[in-house]
């Protein structure tokens, strides 16, 4: 199958893949997109201008251009979200694979910790962690990662357990393969596809969790352009200046839709069984 056929065959994936790339590019090339406007400074004379004219999304109470802040907000949001995904993916997979393969005391300890975390509403703990560690986007990332890794560890462990006792693994052990070799060449490749699909479908919800933390004031710190924080700042002017909360909210919504659709279509391609029903 040629490359072109692949993209034509999975049209949803192609469309939303392109849109995701577009959002990522907008974030990376934010200065070009916004024409070099500084997202953190504005002139007070231009405060709370309605959308239109020079400021297509209007300006906020400090006279900052909302369009610029929304575009730069993509940087903050995407960086933080990808950081969470990478952290939980790596830590969860590592712990899960090791626990599953070796079993015994390591497994017992890690899985008891994971169970404790899973038996508990995640956002509640994330809230406490992010708040106690001190307000910053980095701590919000840590908090969300702390409550999300058990899911991945559990999943990776169950995938490893499924194949650990297969004949081909036994054959590898008998023929003298090193343990590290077995883990890297047999265990990991078997667990990865499912884990990647899970991570891809989780991007959207992690983005929402991070935005909620910022919205509550436990994430990004002003004047950082961040969508959740912008919504929080716009909340007080809801009646007179509704565009303060319309555009950042719409930005979160659109981004989450794009990444959710991308994740779902990726799952359909890599794991057709789960989407049959």
């Amino acid at each position: 199958m040629t490359k072109q056929n692949f993209f034509l065959k999975y049209r949803t994936f192609t469309i939303f893949g392109c849109l995701a790339v577009l959002i990522i590019f907008a974030a990376i090339f934010a200065p070009l997109v916004t024409g070099g406007v500084d997202p953190t400074s504005g002139s007070i004379v231009e405060a709370m201008l309605p959308p239109g004219g020079e400021h297509i999304f209007g300006t906020d109470k400090m006279g900052r251009d909302i369009f610029t802040r929304v575009i730069y907000g993509a940087r903050t949001s995407l960086t933080a979200t990808f950081a969470v995904v990478v952290i939980v993916f790596m830590i969860g997979t590592a712990i899960g694979v090791v626990s599953g393969y070796f079993g015994g005391i390591i497994d017992a300890i890690f899985m008891r910790i994971a169970d404790t975390m899973l038996a508990f509403p995640g956002l509640v703990l994330a809230l406490a962690v992010a708040g106690v560690l001190g307000t910053s986007i980095r701590n919000a990332v840590l908090a969300v990662a702390l409550v999300t890794w058990p899911k991945y560890a559990r999943l990776a462990r169950s995938l490893v357990l499924k194949i650990r006792d297969s004949d081909f693994v036994a054959a590898a052990v008998v023929t003298g393969s090193k343990t590290s070799h077995i883990i890297w060449k047999y265990m990991l490749p078997n667990a990865l596809p499912t884990l990647i699909v899970t991570a891809a479908t989780d991007i959207g919800s992690m983005m929402l969790e991070l935005a909620s933390l910022s919205f509550l004031g436990f994430g990004a710190v002003a004047p950082t352009p961040e969508w959740g924080l912008m919504l929080n700042e716009g909340r007080d002017y809801m009646q007179s200046v509704p565009w303060l909360m319309i555009f950042p909210g719409a930005a979160i919504f659109v981004t989450v839709v794009v990444f959710n659709m991308l994740g779902d279509s990726l799952r359909d391609i890599l794991d057709p069984r789960s989407s049959e029903v």
Binding site: T116, P121, A211, S212, M245, G249
Partner: protein, 312 residues
């Protein structure tokens, strides 16, 4: 659920509570924030090094970690959750006042959620791949992708600010003040739950007994409500219990938006002011509520599914 199994679950709940309290306590121990400093600042005293140290001694914050934890634990077992630093009242009392509003909000949102999800999910499953199904799936997709605090703000903008039907500040805690917050919560939750209802009902519709019933000429609606629905109930109730978790997390955000006088709102202000005892209390209580609801869900299997009663 045999009595033995219920006992096992209660022991499990206690273990999880221990684990959670230990983890949060450890976290606060290593956290950079200093409650003593916050207290001094809140009462308008310049927090000099000496004053901070004196207050920390007084609060027992200079003791080694395990001493602090065991001391706290001993108090908790006596029903004493300590005193809130920022509000200067017993934590247990503060939480108790806020418990009922949050519980009521959660229950009401759950009722709304079920009322929306079950009919929509079943419609979607019965008319699979039709325009109705596509419409409902579109709705569920919208629901899982939209941030709930944005929905809350939009509901407020439309119903409270523009139409003036609902109050802007829902601090009364009465029924009318519950409508906005619970609509917000139910919207997001019902989207997830509708999907699950659809999946479960679809699976059940593919069973052989449905084909058999159809072949015998039993009316479609009868099969649906008298056979398929009761059979789908078990997985649906399990998922219902699990979704309470995200509901409890969501209440914090929604309560802040609507200034609703619940636990979540209290917790957010506690976190902002480094009120460790209050945060601990909040985390423990939320964990307890969540696990108790799930225990009740498990016990309810006995009444719903006769097979469970026989399995002894």
């Amino acid at each position: 659920m045999t009595p033995k199994r219920i006992l096992y679950r209660i022991i499990q709940i206690i273990t999880v509570l221990f684990g959670i309290s230990f983890m949060t306590f450890l976290l606060m121990y290593i956290a950079p924030g200093n409650p003593a400093q916050s207290i001094l600042l809140a009462s308008g005293i310049m927090p000099t090094e000496e004053k901070v140290q004196n207050l920390m001694d007084l609060l027992g914050l200079n003791a080694p970690f395990m001493t602090q934890y065991i001391g706290w634990l001993e108090n908790v077992l006596h029903g004493n959750l300590g005193v809130s630093y920022s509000l200067n009242k017993p934590v247990a009392d503060l939480l108790l006042v806020r418990l009922w509003p949050t519980l009521r909000l959660t229950l009401f949102s759950m009722v709304l959620m079920v009322m929306i999800s079950v009919p929509l999910g079943m419609l979607s499953a019965v008319y699979k791949d039709s325009w109705i199904d596509n419409l409902i799936r579109g709705y569920t997709f919208l629901g899982v992708s939209v941030p709930n605090f944005w929905v809350g703000l939009l509901i407020m903008l439309v119903f409270s600010v523009n139409l003036g039907i609902l109050p802007v500040i829902c601090s009364g805690g009465d029924f009318i003040s519950m409508i906005g917050p619970s609509m917000t919560l139910a919207f997001a939750m019902s989207a997830k739950y509708t999907r699950q209802v659809r999946t479960v009902v679809l699976e059940e519709l593919n069973q052989d007994y449905v084909v058999g019933a159809r072949a015998r000429g039993i009316k479609e609606w009868r099969i649906l409500w008298c056979n398929v629905f009761p059979n789908s109930l078990l997985p649906l109730i399990t998922m219902f219990g699990i979704s309470v978790g995200s509901l409890l997390g969501g209440t914090a955000v929604v309560e802040v938006i609507f200034s609703y006088p619940g636990l979540g709102n209290l917790a957010v202000s506690a976190i902002t002011s480094n009120d460790y005892n209050l945060i601990q209390g909040y985390v423990l209580w939320t964990a307890l509520i969540y696990m108790m609801i799930n225990l009740l869900v498990d016990i309810s299997y006995n009444f719903i599914d006769p097979r469970m009663r026989l399995k002894r």
